[in-house]
């Protein structure tokens, strides 16, 4: 199964990285959030360092959200999803492939950019490292939960509007634990946040393909 699976992951990655794709957009959005917040709250580096974990986590989640509504809808609208469903891959495997591609093209780049943005917020070393690790662990959860929302709304023309409404409450734990990890690191404490985040991410990634596949089946029959 590695041939078909890999080909789907690579295709989604290729589409995301081309013009009109999602990777560049997510990075730009993330950077813009990191720029606008200081403009809004002032350039006090003490304050910025304290809110960096939360602001950057929320920014990353919102940036990852941008490309989610096209995750399944693009293939659904042009009939590719029919063809993909008839391939040797099960719909669950398709869901895993798309999740993987989404994370590689959105979550991972955001994570890699985060240390630079942490600099803008004057986040000290340990905090930056915690931010990086928490995003590395947590963005798969964002892609996973987001994929469920994307598959639920794939038939909607303006599904992009209710998609954030559906998934953001479900992502509250990720934001809480992720930002909590940064706070702990800055205060030189340990509060188990990363462990909790990892558990949440593992659960989300494990369950998401089943829910997403169920939604795709539902919509193919529509």
């Amino acid at each position: 199964m590695s041939g078909p699976f890999l080909s789907l992951v690579l295709r989604d990655l290729r589409l995301a990285s081309r013009s009109g794709g999602s990777a560049a957009l997510a990075l730009a959005f993330f950077a813009l959030v990191a720029t606008l917040v200081p403009l809004g709250v002032g350039a006090n580096l003490n304050l910025l360092a304290r809110i960096a974990g939360g602001v950057l986590w929320v920014g990353a989640v919102l940036a990852a959200l941008l490309s989610l509504d096209r995750l399944y809808q693009g293939d659904f609208d042009d009939g590719s999803l029919d063809l993909i469903a008839l391939s040797p891959l099960s719909l669950e495997q398709v869901a895993v492939a798309k999740l993987l591609a989404h994370w590689f093209s959105t979550g991972l780049p955001l994570t890699l950019l985060s240390p630079l943005l942490a600099l803008l917020f004057g986040l000290p070393g340990p905090g930056t490292w915690a931010l990086f690790v928490s995003l590395l662990i947590g963005t798969p959860a964002v892609s996973a939960v987001g994929a469920i929302g994307a598959s639920l709304t794939l038939s909607l023309k303006r599904g992009g509007l209710i998609l954030p409404l559906i998934i953001l409450p479900l992502l509250a734990p990720a934001v809480i634990f992720g930002a909590g990890a940064v706070t702990a690191a800055v205060d030189h404490l340990s509060n188990g946040a990363l462990g909790l985040l990892a558990a949440f991410a593992a659960a989300a990634v494990l369950l998401s393909p089943f829910a997403a596949a169920a939604c795709v089946r539902l919509n193919l029959a529509g």
Partner: protein, 233 residues
């Protein structure tokens, strides 16, 4: 059990039960309120504690309603129980209203204690997220045109939300201890408060049940009217 799946059977049954349940709701709420106003003033909160009798039952019903929607969604997906979709869909706005009521009364209750209407108390914050879950659920139902598809999509969302809800509450609690937030009520509730609370809680549940039944009956009647109109002419 699946006998009740037949809308006609449900109509007969609910028609018989409705007067009793709504009557019970009125009585329970009346007694509860009377008892609530006649409790001795709490040594800490004075008479504002009476808001608790409006807030706590609302919170209980709001969460129970989401649980009910999750169960109905399970029936809808696994056993294809025909009334399950209607039950889930009609319960949502009711649950949302009770959640909003809980938020408002919780905020009013907190004002004398904390000096502010909102201090990110763990329970109220989870409650706010619950309100968003309700709104998302209702929005999904409204957005998908095909009713059958909307029902199944909403059912999947409700189940995902139900699984996530304990996690959300846990994470908000954890967050709250991290940031040393305020807490609305801790420790035990004095026994003298338990009676009015119990009456109000059951009263609210009876109220929810009767409103829910009315909504399901309305939906069934509407559907009949629609199919009649489709056939005529």
């Amino acid at each position: 059990m699946f006998r009740y799946a037949n809308p006609a059977v449900f109509m007969r049954l609910s028609g018989a039960l409705l007067p009793w349940i709504s009557g019970a709701a009125v009585i329970l709420l009346a007694v509860g309120l009377w008892l609530g106003f006649h409790v001795p003033p709490d040594y800490q909160q004075g008479m504002t504690v009476t808001i608790m009798f409006v807030h706590v039952p609302a919170a209980i019903v709001a969460e129970a309603a989401y649980g009910a929607i999750a169960v109905a969604s399970l029936f809808s997906l696994v056993w294809r129980h025909p009334l399950a979709d209607t039950a889930a869909r009609t319960a949502a706005p009711l649950g949302a209203v009770f959640t909003a009521l809980g938020l408002v009364t919780g905020s009013l209750w907190g004002r004398p204690m904390w000096g502010a209407y909102w201090v990110w108390d763990a329970r109220l914050t989870s409650f706010l997220l619950l309100l968003f879950l309700y709104l998302g659920y209702m929005a999904l139902w409204n957005a998908i045109e095909d009713e059958a598809r909307a029902a199944r999509a909403a059912a999947i969302l409700a189940l995902v939300g139900a699984v996530n809800l304990p996690i959300i509450k846990f994470s908000v609690d954890w967050w709250n201890t991290l940031h040393q937030g305020e807490s609305i009520v801790s420790g035990q509730i004095a026994r003298v408060f338990l009676w009015p609370l119990a009456f109000m809680a059951f009263g609210y549940m009876a109220l929810f049940a009767s409103l829910w039944m009315v909504r399901i009956r309305t939906e069934i009647v509407n559907r009949r009217a629609r199919s009649l109109m489709q056939r005529a002419g």
